[in-house]
Symmetry: C2
C-alpha cells in the first residue's frame, strides 16, 4: 500500500477518502496525519480555525468507521454549530471557550456517518457582525468571503474535503465563490438547524462546502430530514441527491437571471458570466421591477429577527462583541411589528411569483458574487447576488471552475425552485462539466 | 324518475346528489329547487346567508356538469372568500356589496368540480369581530358558533350538503360541533388561501362543513394543492383523502387529550367525553405544563398579525365596523416585534414537541367545545378547545353524533399530526362509527 502523500490528500474528495479508508488503502490515521500536516503548513497564513481538536483527540476519534459513508473523512464545522467535545464561540470573543452538552443535529449525523470532526472554523460574529482572521487561500490580502469564512477556506486550502457552513443572506455561496470551491445552500427545510445559532430563522440555512458535486450530494443525503426538533424540517424524509446525480446526463433547461444586483457586477466578471450563459444556451429570465423591493424587505426581516435572536448577547453588554454587531442589533430593534409583517408578506408574494417564473426551467444561472474576492479583510463581501435566493428558500449552489481577470476564482451560481434540490444539483454538475470543457 | 322531495334532499350527501345528477335520477334543477325550498323555509329563523344567488342565476348555473365530482351540488361559501359573480362583504357592513373580479382559489376549484355556488354565508366581522345574525338551527336562542356561523348552519339546516369555512382559532370545529355537522380544518398548507381575507396568515386555514366524512374527503381532494399563488401551499400536490378512507378499516391508535382547556368543560360534556374515550380505548396523552403558554402566544401572534392584515379596514374609520372589531385591532397594534417573535418561537418549539408526543398515535380525541352551544347570539363561543391545534397547523375534525344534556349536538374533535390528514380523517370516520354503534 502506498501511503498517501500530502498532495494526494489535498486533492481527494470525501468519497474518495471514505472509499480508501473502507477498502484499507488508507488508514484513518494516515488521513488525519495528512490533514494535520496541511493545516500546520497553511493555517498560519489562512487562519481558518477558531478551535482545532488535539492530535490525541483526533487519533482516538478516527478509524473506527470502515464502511460508513464518510469513514475517516475529516470535516470542519462552522463555529455557530454546537459540538459536545469542542467549544462553540459563535464568532464572538465573549463566548470563547463556551461549552455545550450536545452536538448540533447536522454534526451528530455527520459523526454517525463516519466523519471525524477536526475543529471549528472562523465565522463573522454570530454570522452577522465583524469579520474574523481568515484570509483567502488564493491571496492572503483578500477576503475569503463570509460569514462561513473558515469553512470555505479550510476546503479551499486543502485542509479538509468537507465543511459545514450556514447562509442567511449569502454566507455559503459567496465564500465558496471567492475561495473557488463547491458550496450549496439547500432549500429551506432540508437540514435541521437544531444546535445552530439562530440569526434570522425565516432565512437561516445550514449547508456544505466540498470539492465535488458528489460530495455535496452525499453530505446532504446523510444529514437532511426531520430531526423531531426543528419545525422547519418537520415531516421531511431527507434528500436523495446521489440518486439525482446518478440519473443519465441531460442538458438542463437553463435560465440566465440578471437581477437588480447586475448593476453591481465588475465589468470583466459580467462579461465572463454573459459568455458562459450564451455558451450554455441559457435563456434570459427577466426578474421584473417587483423584485426590486427584496433588498429592503430582506433587510427588515433579517434585522428584525436578528435583533430578537441575539437579544441575550446584546443585553450581556459591550464586552467581547464588536461595536458593529451591537449597532446592527440596534438597527433591528427599531423595526416594528407592522413593518416586519409587511416585509414578510411582500416576500411571500414574490416567492410565489418566483416559482411561477421559474416553472419552465430546471435551474437559473446567475452570478455568485459581483467579481473576484476584493482586497481587504474587514468586509466579507456583498449579499446582493445571493440574498434573493436565500429569501425564497431556494437551493443555491456555487459552481467553481472559472477564473477572473486577476487569476482568482469566479463562481457561477446555480439556483432552483424550492424543494428541487436534486434537479438543481444535477444542473450544477452539468454546468461544471460544460465549464471544464469550454475555454472561457 | 321520482322527483326528490324536500326531505330526501335534506338528508342526501354531496356525493349522493352528484351521483343522482350524473346518472340522471335527479336533475340539477330539481336539486336547486329543493335547496331553494328549504332555504325559503328555514332562512327567516336561521339567517345563514349574507347573499343568495337569484333563482335565475342558479337556474343558469346548474345542470351543465354531469360526471363532475360535485355535479349539481349546491355549495355555500363563507363571505370572506371572493366570488366573481357575488359580492364579498367579509362580515362587515362597510363592505356590503363589495365586488371582486375573481373567484377565490377554493371557489374556482369547486366550480370546476361541478358545484353550484348558492350564496355567501354569514361570518363574524372579518372572522374576528362581532357576531352576525345566524342562529343555531337546533335552537334559535343559541349561537351557531363562529366565525363560520352561516356555513355551519346552512349545512345543519339542510340547505346545502357542503359549505366552505375558515379557521384561525376554532372557526370551523366549534360551529360544526354546535350545529352537529362534520367540519374539518386540514393541515396548514393543504388548501390555498388565495382570494380569502387574510386575518392571521400564520394560522388561517380554509376548510369544509359536510354531512359525511366521504364528502369532506372529496371536497379536499378537488380543492387542495399548490395554486401558484399562496406560498403556504407551494409544492403540495393535493390530498388523497378518498383513497385514505377507502383503505380497510382498522382500529386507530387513539390518544385522549385533556388540555389546559379541560377545566373549562361543562360537567356533563366532560363525563360524556371521558366515557367515549374509555369506550374507544383511547390512551391518556398528557400535554404538559409547557403547553400552558399557548393561549397567550396564540393571542399575541393572532392579534399582531390581525392588526397588520386589517389595517386598511381600521384606517377607513369607524363607519360600518363594530367597536369590538376596532378594539381588537387596536389591541393587536400594541404588540411589538420582539413580543411577536418570542411568541412565534415558543409556538415553533411546542409544535415540534407536539409532533413527538403524538408519534405513537394515529390521532387524538379531545373535546370540540366545552359543551353544547350556549344561549345567546352575541358571542360565538370560546377558542380554548380548538386553538391549540390551529396553532400547530394540525388537521382537526369535528365528528358529530353525540347529544348533550339539553338534547343539543356535542362534538368529538379528532386531531392528527400536521400532514397526516388522511390518517386523521380515517380515525374520525372510525370514531363516528363507534359512536353510532355505542349507546352513550
Amino acid at each position: 500500500m502506498t501511503p498517501p502523500d500530502q498532495l494526494s490528500y489535498e486533492t481527494l474528495t470525501a468519497i474518495e477518502i471514505a472509499t480508501a479508508v473502507t477498502d484499507g488503502s488508507m488508514s484513518g490515521k494516515d488521513v488525519i496525519n495528512a490533514a494535520q500536516a496541511i493545516i500546520e503548513q497553511r493555517e498560519p497564513e489562512v487562519g481558518a480555525w477558531n478551535y482545532l481538536a488535539s492530535p490525541q483527540a483526533l487519533a482516538n476519534a478516527v478509524d473506527e468507521n470502515r464502511g460508513e459513508p464518510f469513514a475517516g473523512v475529516p470535516v470542519a464545522i462552522k463555529d455557530i454549530l454546537e459540538t459536545a467535545d469542542m467549544p462553540t464561540a459563535n464568532g464572538i470573543v465573549a463566548q470563547e471557550g463556551r461549552k455545550t452538552s450536545q452536538d448540533a443535529a447536522v454534526v451528530h449525523r455527520l459523526r454517525a456517518a463516519g466523519a471525524t470532526i477536526v475543529g471549528k472554523t472562523v465565522t463573522t460574529e454570530c454570522a452577522f457582525g465583524a469579520s474574523g482572521k481568515t484570509t483567502n487561500p488564493h491571496d492572503k490580502t483578500r477576503t475569503p468571503g463570509g460569514s462561513s469564512s473558515g469553512s470555505a477556506a479550510s476546503v479551499a486550502a486543502g485542509m479538509v474535503p468537507l465543511a459545514v457552513g450556514s447562509q442567511t443572506a449569502g454566507s455559503i455561496v459567496r465564500p465558496a465563490a471567492y475561495c473557488g470551491v463547491w458550496g450549496m445552500k439547500p432549500s429551506f427545510g432540508v437540514l435541521p438547524r437544531t444546535g445552530m445559532l439562530a440569526l434570522a430563522p425565516s432565512f437561516d440555512h445550514p449547508g456544505f462546502f466540498a470539492r465535488s458535486a458528489e460530495d455535496l450530494a452525499l453530505a446532504f443525503d446523510v444529514t437532511s430530514g426531520d430531526d423531531g426538533v426543528d419545525p422547519a424540517v418537520s415531516g421531511f424524509a431527507g434528500t436523495q441527491l446521489r440518486a439525482a446525480l446518478a440519473m443519465p446526463v441531460a442538458r438542463p433547461r437553463l435560465a440566465f437571471a440578471r437581477t437588480f444586483a447586475w448593476e453591481d457586477m465588475d465589468g470583466d466578471a459580467a462579461q465572463r458570466l454573459e459568455k458562459i450563459a450564451h455558451q450554455l444556451q441559457a435563456e434570459e429570465l427577466p426578474l421584473g421591477l417587483e423584485f426590486d423591493i427584496v433588498p429592503e424587505a430582506h433587510r427588515v426581516v433579517l434585522m428584525g429577527e436578528a435583533a430578537h435572536s441575539l437579544k441575550a448577547i446584546y443585553d450581556a453588554g459591550p464586552a467581547g462583541v464588536s461595536q458593529m454587531l451591537r449597532e446592527r442589533i440596534e438597527s433591528g430593534m427599531l423595526i416594528d411589528r407592522d413593518t416586519y409583517l409587511t416585509a414578510k408578506g411582500q416576500l411571500d408574494t414574490l416567492r410565489s411569483l418566483f416559482r411561477r417564473l421559474l416553472a419552465p426551467f430546471d435551474a437559473i444561472i446567475t452570478p455568485a458574487t459581483s467579481g473576484e474576492a476584493p482586497v481587504g479583510l474587514a468586509h466579507t463581501g456583498s449579499r446582493n447576488q445571493t440574498m434573493l435566493w436565500s429569501t425564497f428558500g431556494a437551493p443555491a449552489i456555487n459552481v467553481p471552475g472559472l477564473t477572473g481577470e486577476n487569476g482568482l476564482p469566479l463562481g457561477v451560481q446555480v439556483v432552483g425552485a424550492p424543494g428541487s434540490d436534486g434537479l438543481t444539483l444535477r444542473a450544477a454538475a452539468w454546468v461544471a462539466r460544460a465549464i471544464r470543457e469550454t475555454a472561457v
